[in-house]
């Protein structure tokens, strides 16, 4: 095969894991990773958590050192944007004017924050949180005296940011259009419980509330949030966390199949056999859900990266990894395994009042997902059970004294030393 090699667009979690996995699998052709951000690939999760408080330093976010790219013979192009993909000639045009030829192309372009179609979104003091640059700007604004902060959206990024900002001593109001927090991601039980925790920390939660405008000062700084019901919330900082949109422009313009994400098959290939898409930007068929889904998580980007690298190395296997996700709010450890959408029965195990419990979700009597608070073993075991397709029945889970730990045996012997 001609040695044009692999080009990966998007130097985030998925892009980085793809190039690393290609080399780990012994791929010998040229590998190029192109990223629009001016910095080397880093982890996003701490941006709404420890990075805002200063507990996590910039160098701890970095996924790999510079020496990794030279040692692995990977060309890392930072601060340049892929402007156009030309599938007919297997070429990528960069904003800098350069071009890259490929045998295989991987789109790992992630997602970008959604905004609201209301007046005032361009006022100063209105921020979104996606990149390191966003987080640095926000951290700067939070370092001074207490502010009146309004967070728009009670998704994971919105709630984590609300918790962190509250922990820094600022006044925080969260405005959410849905009737409950994390309505799309969590069961009503966990939504309600989590809302209670935010309220007890002094966060005002306005649910079922619609924003119609942001008001500003004559100097162009944000001053308030207007709600449909007539209320007006004073604000000198507004953080917009109303979800993310898949970054699909390149794919659309290249004529690939797109529909809320780049559409891929179970091998993560687009309708062009030389082009793959992974991570936040890809919509893939989920055997468990029986439909195409798009996920925004480190696990999804990372596991899909390894799946694509294997495919490029000629070891195609369908993508079937069990989805999981974690979130940290205040001192709470939230962990989600599997997908809870479409469940028809739940069983809560543990102690919600003591912030140690799991909501097990079932569909037609089978375990399909688990949401855990302060119960890492439940989460860890649920992931294993979901991957092997086993698990308790709802009746078993409801039995007094039930513990998921009874589904695993703890070993007694150390691992044999490797030969």
């Amino acid at each position: 095969m001609a040695a044009r090699g692999v080009v990966v667009i998007g130097a985030g979690q998925g892009g980085l894991d793809t190039v690393a996995a290609l080399r780990a699998k012994g791929y010998g052709g040229p590998v190029t990773l192109v990223g629009e951000e001016p910095v080397a690939p880093y982890q996003r999760p701490p941006l709404s958590k420890g990075f805002l408080t200063g507990a996590t330093r910039h160098d701890e976010l970095t996924l790999r050192t510079e020496s990794f790219f030279s040692a692995q013979d990977i060309t890392l192009v930072c601060g340049d944007r892929a402007e156009r993909v030309e599938p007919d000639v297997q070429r990528v045009r960069l904003a800098s004017g350069g071009t890259l030829r490929y045998d295989k192309l991987v789109l790992a372009t992630g997602s970008r924050p959604r905004t609201l179609p209301v007046p005032g979104m361009d006022l100063s003091g209105v921020l979104t949180l996606r990149t390191l640059a966003d987080a640095e700007a926000l951290r700067g604004l939070l370092s001074g005296p207490p502010r009146q902060v309004v967070v728009l959206g009670a998704g994971f990024v919105g709630l984590e940011t609300a918790a962190t900002v509250r922990g820094l001593g600022h006044d925080v109001t969260v405005v959410e259009a849905q009737r409950r927090v994390l309505a799309r991601a969590l069961t009503p039980q966990l939504s309600e419980w989590l809302a209670g925790r935010h309220r007890s920390q002094g966060v005002r939660l306005l649910l079922g509330a619609e924003v119609t405008a942001l008001h500003g000062t004559p100097a162009g700084e944000v001053a308030g949030v207007q709600l449909l019901d007539g209320r007006r919330l004073p604000a000198d900082l507004v953080i917009v966390g109303v979800g993310a949109l898949p970054e699909t422009r390149l794919a659309t313009e290249a004529g690939l199949l797109v529909g809320d994400g780049v559409i891929v098959d179970q091998w993560l290939r687009t309708d062009d056999r030389s082009v793959y898409a992974i991570g936040d930007c890809a919509r893939f068929p989920s055997a468990r859900q029986g439909r195409h889904i798009r996920l925004e998580s480190v696990q999804n980007a990372s596991d899909q990266a390894r799946c694509v690298a294997a495919a490029i190395c000629g070891e195609s296997v369908p993508y079937t990894a069990v989805p999981w996700f974690w979130s940290e709010q205040y001192a709470l450890r939230l962990q989600m395994a599997g997908l809870t959408a479409g469940h028809d029965e739940t069983v809560t195990v543990g102690d919600p009042d003591g912030a140690r419990f799991s909501v097990l979700c079932f569909r037609a009597g089978r375990l399909t997902g688990a949401e855990s608070v302060g119960r890492p073993a439940d989460h860890a075991i649920a992931r294993r059970l979901l991957s092997s397709g086993t698990g308790p029945s709802p009746a078993e889970a409801r039995a007094p004294g039930f513990d998921l730990k009874s589904f695993v045996t703890r070993p007694s012997s150390p691992a044999p030393a490797h030969a």
């Binding site: 701490p46 596991d303 990894a321 890492p376 073993a377 989460h379 860890a380 070993p411």
Partner: protein, 107 residues
């Protein structure tokens, strides 16, 4: 600083010096050692930084807290008595000479 040996499943060894305040997990990442995924970046959430501490090792390790013990229920390769999460092993002078075996798979 501590000298740490990472033994790969194929028998090869990588020996590196790791500085505080890094962990054994971060030491592998910084030195381009494959076999540790660390999807959660060290927050004891994912279980993909699993290592087996060498049985002959006499290096004193910090004791395991209940979160680490719980997360180890979900490792891709079987948990053993000598299983640890490498992100929960902060590097100190005391860790000098530590030998860990990398499992066949992390996820």
């Amino acid at each position: 600083m501590a000298k740490i040996t990472y033994l790969h499943p194929n028998g090869t060894a990588t020996v590196v010096d790791v500085q505080a305040p890094n962990t054994v997990m971060r030491g592998a990442k910084l030195n381009n050692i494959d076999g540790i995924e660390a999807q959660c970046g060290g927050s004891a959430q994912c279980g993909t930084c699993h290592v087996y501490v060498d049985e002959q090792s006499t290096v004193p390790l910090p004791s395991m807290d209940s979160v680490e013990d719980d997360v180890l229920y979900g490792t891709a390769c079987p948990r053993r008595e000598n299983s640890r999460l490498s992100c929960q092993l902060p590097v100190t002078e005391e860790l000098d000479g530590l030998v860990v075996h990398l499992p066949e798979a992390q996820s």
